[in-house]
């Protein structure tokens, strides 16, 4: 599921080493190592209840990570993922609770509003010719402010039981059914980026904008498409979180939706998606989210102090990006 092994960044010593050097394999090993360690250290970690809770959190964080990944690939970023997620969810909550629309229609409405807000980010980025950082910084405040003013910060907490029960399904190995949905989204994204024209165009435009433009890639369109996709994925993550919480909460992603930023960047960046654009790894993002979820859950189970988990995740992000930098540096040296 990855570009990285294919494009030869993995080094010259044959397939085994190449596989080990890829960030996906490394992440998988580390994650499995932590799972074994935590299961050994605390019985609570591998209990059916905990694996169910863990996979449910993982399912949501994976989609939040995807939402950032599809914008990172253009060389941009989207600070408004949380704000868009909350806005979309409030639209969905309103449609279900106030307008009384069928669940499916409400879900489609929520996804469409997420995509629309994302597309607006893309259009503004293209039209103003500025980095998406400043555009999404502004729209994060704009969207969140508009949402709070319109909802008066009130939650929709009388959602249909059928919608809420979607999040409660358990399946084989005590995993949350939502995890399979996230995997399904991952497969679709992989297919989009590696087997469709627009996906290839997005990768080309992200890797080298001017070269792509010269070869006839509609660069502006790829940027708008990626932002719209990011908005739709943020809306999807928001819907999953809403089903889990049993209510559409304006505060579910924190002030301005900023609580989503760390998981949103951690998963793709740990998974080897470059901030400069042009490469992405769907499997890496999934594994990045898995490692973060396993670590935070394990640390909570160990009762080392729940208040320190956030500081720990920050250190991991810092070490991970620094190591990735070092690895790229060493690879480049060896090639010379």
């Amino acid at each position: 599921m990855s570009m990285k092994v294919v494009d030869g960044r993995a080094g010259p010593r044959g397939p085994t080493l190449a596989l080990l050097a890829s960030s996906e394999a490394g992440l998988l090993l580390i994650t499995v190592g932590f799972v074994i360690l935590f299961s050994y250290l605390t019985p609570g970690f591998s209990s059916p209840f905990n694996t169910y809770a863990l996979t449910r959190v993982l399912a949501i964080d994976v989609v939040i990570g995807f939402s950032m990944m599809v914008v990172l690939v253009t060389g941009g970023l989207n600070l408004a993922v949380g704000a868009i997620g909350v806005c979309a969810v409030m639209v969905g909550g309103w449609a279900m609770e106030v307008a009384g629309l069928p669940i499916l229609v409400a879900v489609v409405l929520a996804l469409a509003s997420g995509a629309a807000l994302g597309a607006l980010n893309g259009i503004l980025t293209v039209a103003m010719r500025v980095h998406s950082f400043v555009v999404t910084l502004a729209t994060m405040s704009l969207f969140f402010g508009a949402m709070i003013v319109m909802t008066k910060a009130q939650a929709f907490n009388a959602l249909p039981a059928a919608f809420v029960s979607l999040a409660k399904l358990k399946t084989y190995f005590f995993a949350s059914s939502m995890l399979y949905i996230s995997i399904g989204i991952g497969v679709l994204l992989w297919w989009l980026f590696h087997h469709t024209l627009i996906g290839r165009q997005i990768l080309a435009a992200g890797a080298n904008t001017s070269a792509a433009r010269l070869s006839g890639v509609p660069v502006e369109r790829t940027i708008v498409v990626c932002h719209a996709l990011s908005g739709a994925l943020a809306a999807f993550a928001g819907l999953m979180l809403t089903a889990r919480n049993g209510a559409a909460l304006p505060s579910m992603a924190g002030q301005l939706g900023m609580d989503w930023l760390l998981p949103a960047f951690l998963a793709p960046v740990l998974g080897g998606t470059l901030l400069t654009g042009g490469t992405l790894s769907v499997a890496g993002t999934f594994l990045g989210a898995a490692m973060v979820t396993v670590l935070s859950n394990g640390l909570l189970q160990l009762e080392l102090g729940e208040f320190w988990v956030q500081a720990f995740l920050g250190i991991i992000l810092l070490v991970a990006v620094a190591l990735d930098r070092l690895r790229a540096h060493l690879m480049a040296k060896r090639r010379i």
Binding site: F133, L142, A153, F265, G314
Partner: protein, 313 residues
């Protein structure tokens, strides 16, 4: 070029006109705007926000960004308050400890950014988490209440409409203005932000400048955090949580170029002033105070669009 045209081309002139027009309109619409107490309230908020904006501005000057401004401010705030509450250290020592937190936090950002060559965005996102996480780890999300009376009094004392807090912020504002205009290091910040290669070739030590900018940014954030403690009369762990947008909005409205090399202390000051005016107008005119988020977002977009229009690249 005529004087009018020259004035129109500066970063601050249009903003000053906008601010004065807004203030006059608000004064006419709502006379209580000009009451001594209301002006005091605005100036107090201004005193805190202007430091937050300057803290971001010095990083924007070198063409980077700092997501951890609020987290450093919050951590400095709770160590300042915690030192006085738990260890009963004298106030000047507590201030020194708070400043050291700012210096250390900024130095960490600067050194990591420079040594690894990583994007400052990821680095400061990670350190945001580290600082905020340390804050929550130390306080367990509970405020420090036992602050010396002198600090509490200072945070809420005033001469008529002039809050004492503004003495600190005003002095720092002047110092930063002189620093950016006259000091060698201040000019070097802009040189590095404007053209890194040219700066390096002309003998500027990039690493020194980058670390210095981050240390300055951290220190300014720490001062803002400590003033917030004095103002709130307690060491609230949530200090700094809502600084991100305003820290970018004010310099950007003030004409700063996010790519680096061009910032304006006067413009940033007026940017903060305009935001404070809008905030106050929403309160006085009984509009939903949350609408300020919406307006801030729109204002950033408008400022960026305007700078594109003024200087089409």
């Amino acid at each position: 070029m005529s004087t009018t045209m020259q004035l129109l081309r500066t970063d601050w002139f249009g903003l000053l006109v906008a601010f004065l027009l807004g203030a006059i309109m608000l004064g006419v619409a709502q006379p209580s705007f000009l009451s001594t107490y209301n002006i005091y309230v605005i100036l107090t908020a201004f005193a805190l926000s202007v430091l937050v904006a300057l803290s971001q501005m010095v990083i924007v000057a070198i063409g980077q960004l700092n997501l951890s401004v609020g987290a450093i401010g919050g951590l400095a705030a709770i160590t300042f308050a915690g030192a006085m509450d738990l260890w009963n250290v004298p106030i000047p020592v507590a201030i020194l400890i708070g400043l050291m937190v700012g210096v250390a936090g900024g130095a960490l950002n600067g050194v990591v950014t420079h040594v690894t060559g990583l994007n400052a965005f990821v680095v400061t996102l990670a350190t945001l988490s580290i600082f905020k996480g340390t804050n929550i780890g130390i306080t367990e999300a509970q405020p420090f209440y036992d602050i010396p009376e002198a600090v509490k009094t200072f945070g809420n004392a005033r001469f008529g409409f002039f809050p004492y807090l503004l003495f600190v912020s005003g002095a720092i504002l002047v110092a930063v203005w002189v620093f950016m205009r006259r000091a060698v290091l201040g000019r070097q910040l802009l040189a590095v932000g404007g053209n890194r290669n040219a700066a390096e070739l002309s003998g500027i030590s990039i690493g020194r400048v980058v670390v210095a900018a981050h240390v300055l940014s951290g220190t300014l954030a720490a001062v803002a955090g400590m003033l917030a403690v004095a103002r709130l009369q307690l060491g609230q762990p949530t200090i700094g949580d809502d600084w991100l947008i305003i820290s970018f909005a004010a310099p950007v409205i003030g004409g700063a170029v996010l790519a680096g090399g061009h910032v304006s202390v006067g413009g940033t000051l007026l940017g903060v002033a305009i935001i404070m005016l809008i905030n106050n107008a929403l309160v006085l005119l009984n509009v939903n105070p949350y609408a300020v988020q919406l307006l801030l977002g729109a204002l950033i977009l408008a400022a960026v669009a305007l700078s594109r229009f003024r200087d089409p690249a």
